[in-house]
């Protein structure tokens, strides 16, 4: 800043006494006043700082926020490209086309989808209604506004053709996705299947489905979208990632992770008061947590395996109380609770409590903590979150970052997405303890009455069913989470059927059926 230098130079001179040299308008001869040079320097400094602030602001938007904003589906360049550019194809992991572009009679592109089964994950891209799902998440890549390669992105101004529409190869398996939607049938619900070793999502199904091709086709777009918007079953809600459900007993796996992980219990811990409490209820702060008695277990105090096998609420309430609200909330946080899961698609946050309570971890009191420990109270989860819980156990305590894309393929080359460890949640041997309990729940003699349907011929399955009471008189939500093969897990699953009844009746059989189909697909 020259101005500073020069003005400072002026300071010394300007500040020097100027006896006998009064100004026009100076009040008294001989009075000293510094020249304006001194203050000019400070004013110059002020402006220099202000312009430095402008440079920093520009740097923030043009460097730090550049990728984020410029590839956003709301960006004008992305929207403009979406109207003119034929978007890249979307395929499943084996190359089966899921979405592709056609040209209307005016030569303008529009989108076509292989089936409605993928509507909950691929979404739609419509000229009139924008986009949703994967179409929205990778708007910039599909329309080629941003190249997948950051170096290519930087120098794209030197290329003649500005856009490079990329094809996306997803991690999905089209036939399993189709099967999951068929298995859910007319029910509202969701299925998530993922590879626990890599985080690759194999199935991300949400019902009811909708005809995304009808939304995308300019001829039918208006009518189709209007019907979908007014449908009380909300087909446009992607339930697998954004549906928030009371988990019921499948949440016990989270409680087990917190209990074992924090050292509050071991796999061998038993609670002497548990058998009696099954008859009379467990007195927690003057409130009785009740559970049906499990006749087959008699009056034995159950350990982790036994309690998981018969899905004992009292045992898990005691584990939760032993662990404490803070530890339960923080271990759940390790698994992804409390904030939207970082994923290709927009996700909703799962919660163990609605928070604000002073008891610890946001719980309001011991009763809420006890109830939350077996998945009631204010606990709500997304199907994706519960699939990650099962996947963490299956992958021996290591939580992989879930992802939906294997590769972006454009003119500028192919960019593959590598598996990433998200968090090391639990020690491997502790994860193995829980895996053994989950295996017993499906394969054990007593567990069968809860999760019989999840069994697959020729392959050991580990899992946990859940029956989430919703209050009132409605049917409970039916849950199943699990993984297989139990001895060397390669697939994790979460199934929820809204008001599907007991977990054993609806969700567990769907889980078993899909795991069997997966087994065939995987060639086991």
């Amino acid at each position: 800043m020259n101005a500073l230098g020069s003005a400072r130079g002026g300071t010394a001179r300007g500040g020097a006494p100027r006896v006998g040299a009064p100004r026009v308008g100076a009040p008294r001869v001989g009075v000293r006043h510094p020249g304006v040079g001194a203050t000019l320097g400070r004013v110059a400094l002020t402006l220099a700082i202000a312009f430095g602030g402008l440079a920093a602001g520009a740097g923030y938007w043009q460097v730090i926020r550049s990728d984020d904003l410029a590839s956003s589906p709301d960006d004008a360049a992305v929207i403009a490209a979406g109207r003119d550019v034929a978007r890249g194809e979307i395929t499943d992991r084996d190359g089966v086309r899921l979405a592709w572009s056609l040209l209307d009679p005016n030569g303008e592109p529009y989108r076509k989808y292989v089936s409605s089964s993928i509507s909950g994950v691929i979404g739609y891209a419509s000229r009139a209604f924008g986009s949703a799902g994967l179409e929205r998440a990778y708007e910039a890549e599909l329309t080629g506004v941003t190249a997948a390669d950051p170096v290519q992105d930087l120098v794209k101004k030197f290329r003649a053709a500005a856009t490079d529409p990329q094809s996306i190869r997803t991690t999905l398996v089209a036939q399993l996705q189709e099967a999951a939607v068929r298995a859910l049938g007319n029910d509202r619900g969701a299925v998530v299947m993922l590879d626990p070793r890599t985080g690759e999502v194999i199935v991300l199904a949400s019902t009811p489905v909708f005809d995304a091709s009808a939304v995308a086709n300019p001829d039918t777009s208006l009518a189709a979208f209007a019907v979908l918007q007014s449908d009380p079953d909300k087909p446009l809600l992607p339930r697998a990632t954004q549906g928030r459900y009371v988990p019921g007993s499948v949440f016990k796996i989270v409680t087990a992770i917190a209990g074992l992980g924090s050292g509050a219990i071991t796999a061998a811990t038993t609670f002497p008061q548990q058998p009696a409490a099954e008859k009379n209820g467990l007195l927690v702060s003057g409130y009785r947590v009740r559970d049906g008695h499990h006749p087959a277990t008699g009056s034995t105090a159950l350990d982790l395996v036994g309690a998981t096998e018969v899905s004992c609420n009292i045992y898990y309430a005691l584990v939760g109380l032993e662990t404490g609200g803070d530890a339960l909330a923080s271990w759940a946080g390790q698994l992804g609770f409390g904030e939207p899961i970082p994923f290709d698609l927009q996700t909703a946050a799962s919660q163990v409590t609605d928070g604000g309570g002073s008891f610890g971890g946001g719980f309001s009191d011991a009763v809420e903590l006890a109830n939350a420990s077996y998945g009631q109270a204010e606990t709500v989860v997304t199907p994706l979150q519960m699939a990650l819980v099962a996947g963490t156990i299956a992958n021996r305590g290591v939580l992989m970052r879930p992802h939906l894309v294997q590769a972006f393929m454009g003119r500028s080359g192919i960019v593959s997405v590598d598996p990433q460890v998200w968090r090391q949640v639990l020690a491997p041997d502790l994860a193995d303890d829980i895996a053994a309990a989950m295996r017993q729940a499906v394969e054990g003699r007593l567990g069968r009455q809860f999760t019989t349907g999840a069994r697959v011929a020729g392959m050991a399955v580990a899992g946990k069913s859940g029956t989430a009471e919703l209050g009132g008189t409605g049917e409970p939500n039916s849950w199943f989470i699990g993984f297989a093969p139990a001895e060397d897990p390669r697939i994790a699953i979460a199934v929820v059927v809204e008001q599907g009844g007991r977990g054993a009746e609806r969700a567990a059989p769907i889980g078993g059926k899909l795991l069997a189909l997966w087994k065939t697909w995987a060639g086991l």
Binding site: A7, V36, T39, L47, F51, G57, K157
Partner: protein
């Protein structure tokens, strides 16, 4: 040798030893330029810088033409060629060199950096206006209309830099100028017509303009006159309220009144940007003249209180502030323009999309409707990237630096404060609109000097830079002490000796 004589050549603030300078009384000395033609004085530095500016702009125009040639869109009425709208650019360059020659012929030893700096800013503006939809302005189209105003502005710089050899006409009639300013505001408020909900434009027959562009200069002229005359009093005297020492309120009264009237009317006109500009320049000049931080503190308190009151009672202020706090909340409503501007910056990234390759059109419309007036900074951010933005900011800093340098080496307080005020107008105005574009402060609709589209703004900015160049001539004599100044001097001397 620079145009501005380095300060060690002539001591700064080396005012006349005598309060009644003898040369100032000689009318022929003051109008020396008119008596016979001055000897031309070469301006080698200005020429060199103008050559660089020419090369830069030709390169930019060729880049824009290349973008068009390789599949980009082309504005209607323009051809593909080696240069994007070559005749316009050549016309612009011709006006720059004509101004250069005029300044050579003036024979004055004046600043040689300002003209090329302004020339580059204006050239960037021309390139931008050429690549925008030409229908944004009627008649000649956006680019050609901007060319005409730019050329007039450049010419105004040269003419004022040549012929203004005395500042007596400014300093002697400060209250007259202030009155004209207030009058212009009132006339605009009564007879002006509304554009975009703001009553800023005054039309006389076919000619229309925004008087607030002129008013900001009149304000600075008034402040320079008043502050230089009362500087010593403002520094020395205080109003004591109990133990608290406050600035001499009686001497501030005329200025505060001037400022309050301007501000009130500006607020009524909903021109927040001009209000902010007036206030910031007012405070900075007060500080320049008095070096009293207490003025700045009081001013900032007044600003905060006033801002809170305006926010509480004026819906359009609330909307502006709310948009600023979270534009993304209303991204498709009131926050639309600023969100689009931020996206434009983001698309530009480090290196930019290249001239002509940014600003995607959706349905034949620009993402930002008021791009050419309120958001040229965002447009440049997209097409020239962070690198280009830093360059533009650097050019404004050069203008500020030259202006403050002229102020620091001015012959007396009036010229110093005037030069500082004029350069502060350019600097603060550029800051306010750029910061608004970048969401650093609430967005206000004022122009980016020498870049935004608009005749009033370009002419006013040309007037400012022309005056700065004239003020940089330190051989120009100081005018005689005016009657009123003499009276006030006598008054104070009497009191001082009492």
């Amino acid at each position: 040798m620079t145009a501005v004589v380095p300060m060690n050549d002539v001591p700064m603030n080396d005012g006349p030893m005598n309060p009644l300078p003898i040369t100032g009384l000689d009318p022929h000395a003051r109008r020396g330029g008119h008596a016979h033609l001055p000897r031309p004085r070469p301006r080698p530095r200005e020429f060199g810088l103008l050559a660089i500016v020419t090369a830069t702009l030709l390169l930019g125009s060729a880049s824009l033409a290349a973008t068009r040639a390789f599949g980009g869109t082309i504005a209607p009425g323009l051809d593909r060629g080696l240069l994007a709208d070559g005749p316009a650019l050549l016309g612009y360059l011709a006006s720059l060199f004509a101004a250069h020659i005029l300044l050579i012929l003036s024979g004055r030893r004046t600043d040689q950096v300002l003209l090329p700096t302004i020339g580059l800013l204006g050239g960037v503006s021309l390139l931008l206006m050429e690549r925008l939809p030409q229908t944004l302005a009627g008649g000649l189209g956006l680019g050609r209309t901007q060319l005409v105003w730019l050329a007039l502005s450049i010419l105004a710089i040269a003419v004022i830099g040549t012929i203004v050899r005395s500042d007596a006409w400014l300093r002697m009639y400060k209250y007259t100028w202030a009155a004209i300013g207030v009058g212009l505001l009132l006339i605009t408020f009564v007879f002006g017509h509304d554009v975009n909900g703001q009553r800023l434009t005054l039309g006389i027959g076919p000619v229309s303009g925004q008087p607030s562009e002129l008013i900001k200069i009149l304000l600075v002229v008034f402040l320079a006159g008043y502050l230089s005359e009362n500087r010593a009093l403002l520094i020395e005297e205080s109003t004591k309220i109990g133990p608290i020492r406050l600035p001499p309120i009686p001497y501030l009264a005329p200025m505060i009144a001037m400022w309050a009237i301007a501000l009130a009317i500006v607020v009524i006109q909903k021109d927040l940007g001009a209000a902010l500009l007036f206030f910031a320049v007012f405070l900075l000049l007060l500080y320049v003249a008095t070096a009293r931080a207490s003025f700045v503190v009081l001013g900032l308190i007044a600003f905060l209180v006033g801002g809170a009151v305006l926010y509480a009672f004026l819906p359009h202020v609330q909307v502006r502030v709310d948009i600023w706090l979270d534009p993304f909340a209303t991204a498709s409503g009131s926050g639309y323009q600023i969100v689009q501007a931020l996206h434009a910056f983001a698309r530009g990234g480090l290196l930019g999309t290249g001239l002509g390759a940014g600003l995607p059109m959706i349905g034949g419309a620009l993402p930002i409707p008021a791009l050419h007036t309120d958001f040229p900074f965002a447009a440049l951010g997209e097409e020239m990237g962070l690198v280009g933005i830093l360059g533009i900011l650097g050019l404004y800093l050069v203008v500020i630096e030259r202006g403050l340098r002229i102020a620091a080496s001015a012959a007396d307080d009036f010229r110093a404060i005037l030069a500082a005020g004029l350069s502060l107008i350019i600097g603060v105005q550029a800051f306010i609109i750029a910061a608004g574009n970048l969401k650093l402060i609430p967005l206000t609709g004022i122009t980016l000097p020498f870049i935004s589209y608009g005749g009033s703004s370009l002419l006013a900015s040309g007037l400012i830079v022309g005056l700065l160049i004239a003020l940089s001539d330190r051989t120009a004599e100081l005018p005689a002490v005016t009657g009123s100044a003499q009276r006030s001097l006598r008054r104070r001397q009497n009191r001082g000796s009492a």
